[in-house]
């Protein structure tokens, strides 16, 4: 089922956030495609041995950012990319994450060119998803 999902217990990152990140990552990389059904809350909870409320919370957060939609009685599905949006707060978080990244690069001694090259190389992995992305967000 959801064999690729891993929960690290005892981590600083709350479990629901680990789920959000992993599912989000899978969607971003194209491993989960539009229309794919996410595991049922109870089933995923049983498989990962975590509280079903935690799974429900993660799904709710994903739905709030438009990554998935829940159809009552049916399940939760990866939604159409065009429905996604990002609010200012989330973009701030993203910016902070970028700072962390750049800090590490600077400490490792990378210059602007090396960093950009590395970035482009990693971008290639997501190529498909990025080019089809929302036109509204800047």
């Amino acid at each position: 089922m959801a064999l690729w999902m891993q929960i690290i217990s005892g981590s600083e990152t709350p479990i629901y956030r680990q789920l959000v990140e992993q599912i989000g990552g899978a969607i971003a990389k194209g491993e989960l495609r539009t229309g794919d059904k996410l595991p049922a809350v109870r089933a995923l909870a049983a498989e990962l041995v975590i509280n079903p409320n935690t799974v429900a919370r993660a799904y709710t957060m994903l739905e709030q950012s438009g990554l998935v939609t829940t159809k009552t009685g049916s399940g939760t599905y990866v939604s159409d990319p065009h429905l996604r949006h990002a609010d200012a707060a989330e973009i701030n978080v993203l910016a902070e994450r970028m700072d962390t990244l750049i800090t590490r690069a600077v400490n490792l001694g990378l210059d602007r060119q090396a960093l950009t090259a590395l970035f482009e190389k990693r971008l290639a992995k997501f190529a498909g998803r990025l080019d089809k992305g929302n036109a509204e967000n800047g």
Partner: protein, 309 residues
């Protein structure tokens, strides 16, 4: 508002002159998995035994499924599963005999197939005698005996003490299996905070017999925070801030552990203290628990002397 399955009001227990539990007020709603946390000797076992009517309170009361704990009728006990650390069972019995014994008390609700499945899953045989089982295997039998009657309320007092990681995981699986059924509630105490974080959605923290927290896990996780403030010049000597748990300082940094202090208050305090640079440090549940239950402003036991380098 969810129904309250477990409630204590001013629950107090004295042993001679010493207080084991001091006016505990706890309310646990139906449908949650509640982690009972506290350091050794904090009063968790005392609280649980009081709730189950194994001890008599010095003052106050406890109610389980609406009934007074000191007078739990058998009909109510049938709805409650109880597992303790050590898993003391009758050593001379075989698993099959123990099943028959247990079953006699739950005539209508015993799930024989579930019990058999669990025993098989644990790679045990019903013919084995309890005295020939290892600690871990006894715990497994104990778990099966507690889950097979499909209890409404499962209370576990440090059930995985001294057991290996695989068995701990099995207990967690058992809890999740139970909670996915309608209207079930689990209360368990544990020292393995990673386990608690996995499955609990509520926490109750008891410290030296006193209730320190009774909230959702989420609330606890977001309330106990660590912030590091960076100063250009000297670090303030006195730190006055409501909700301060601990404070550590180095040459140019001040590390504060806070509870119930929001971002705005931190920013305001930092401003008054003379700095704008501060970062929040994420902690895992274990670190949060340690900070929350350690005596305040205590020097670290082992001080690394920087002068040595």
């Amino acid at each position: 508002m969810a129904e309250i399955v477990l409630e204590t009001k001013g629950l107090t227990k004295y042993y001679g002159a010493g207080i084991a539990l001091d006016h505990l007020d706890v309310r646990i709603p139906r449908g949650c998995i509640c982690g009972f946390l506290g350091r050794n000797g904090a009063g968790k076992t005392t609280a649980i035994k009081l709730m189950l009517g194994l001890l008599e309170p010095t003052a106050g009361s406890a109610h389980l499924l609406g009934c007074d704990s000191t007078a739990l009728p058998p009909a109510v006990r049938q709805r409650i599963g109880y597992v303790t650390e050590g898993h003391r069972l009758f050593r001379w019995m075989t698993i099959a005999r123990l099943e028959k014994f247990q079953q006699a008390f739950f005539p209508k609700q015993w799930d024989g197939k579930f019990f058999a499945d669990m025993i098989e899953y644990f790679e045990l045989s019903k013919k084995q005698k309890i005295k020939h089982l290892s600690n871990g295997q006894r715990a497994q039998v104990s778990l099966a005996l507690a889950l097979a009657p499909n209890p409404e309320l499962l209370i576990m007092d440090d059930p995985t003490l001294g057991l290996d990681a695989a068995i701990r995981r099995q207990f967690l699986e058992g809890m999740i299996e139970l909670i996915t059924r309608q209207g079930r509630t689990v209360l368990f105490s544990s020292h393995i905070l990673a386990d608690v974080e996995r499955v609990a959605d509520r926490v109750v923290v008891i410290d030296k017999g006193v209730l320190r927290a009774d909230c959702s896990l989420e609330e606890f996780r977001t309330s106990v925070r660590k912030v590091v403030l960076h100063f250009d010049n000297s670090v303030p000597a006195d730190v006055e801030l409501e909700g301060l748990l601990h404070c550590r300082r180095s040459e140019r940094q001040l590390e504060l552990t806070l509870v119930g202090v929001d971002d705005a208050e931190v920013a305001a305090w930092a401003d008054r203290a003379g700095t704008e640079r501060f970062d929040f440090v994420e902690m895992n549940l274990e670190d949060q628990f340690i900070e929350f239950t350690s005596p305040p402003h205590r020097k670290r036991l082992f001080q690394w002397e920087e002068a040595r380098s």
